[in-house]
Symmetry: C2
Subunit: 152 residues, 2 copies
Amino acid sequence: MSEEPGDPRLIFALFNEIGIIEQLSRAMFEARLPKGVLVSHFAVLNHLVRVGDGRTPLELATAFQVPKTTLSHTLALLEKRGWIDMRPNPDDKRSKRVWITAEGRAFREDAIERLSPDMARMAREPVMKGVDSLVSRLAEIRQYLDGVRDAQ
Amino acid sequence: MSEEPGDPRLIFALFNEIGIIEQLSRAMFEARLPKGVLVSHFAVLNHLVRVGDGRTPLELATAFQVPKTTLSHTLALLEKRGWIDMRPNPDDKRSKRVWITAEGRAFREDAIERLSPDMARMAREPVMKGVDSLVSRLAEIRQYLDGVRDAQ
DNA sequence: ATCATATAGTGCGATATCGTATTAACTGCA
DNA sequence: TGCAGTTAATACGATATCGCACTATATGAT
């Protein structure tokens, strides 16, 4: 009656494919972004627009699942470039809140313009057919992994 | 008659999920590996065993889709730790061939032992049901991206 | 055979990522 | 209220990643 257990090697294979695709997509994105701008930079700005700004650094680190020191570094860079403002968090004096500036928004829009042709081209490829269910599937796995991690 | 084009935002979402899962899985793997050993180190040793050693550094860099300077750095570390040998390539005096040592094999086996319980546990999770078709799907996309990249 | 061009690997410098430790502020309980 | 333990952010140091440039060697055209 119990479920047939899957092959552990398939889990290895899954993360292997994901690692290589991550590598390829990152290289592809960064080839389109202006020199010196990495996906990690763009991702923060994009998140601030899509999810809304006024987040704390820790909230952002959790969202991206990166150590908070990594995010601290990224935020310092974005602030130096004038793309975000970090202001004190009135609710917690240890903390801050991150706001995207007009320049940050403009940069993000420009970056999306640069990336869109590739995205649109890929979206038309037969290999991407039914990608919505693939994304759902990956989202489930991501949520599961999130949960496992939090449980540690 | 033409195919309905997919939504470019789904492609963004796809790479976003993949990026986060990569981050999570890497953190999880590295938590199990001995201190100072990264997934990038393990991946090279694993590849040398699975695909066979005697590869050139460039072949390895291509397999992992990382810049050759990155791999050069990794190989230097693995050699310093005694896990690989780099010998001249008799077919091309510019080049080298990479051989895994007995210590390298032993380390890889030990690493797999450390990782296996997690893999086995995940393989039993309902969320991983049908993961074989997911892996196939990702492999197709990876191959497509490889091709696009080579065409540049 | 010569030479222009391409390729394999690495040195170097810039930056990213991450773990550890530190500081300041918060929280909960005596 | 006071204090112990927790938490948010960051400084710092170690290492990873990557682009650029360089050297040695290979290749292909004449």
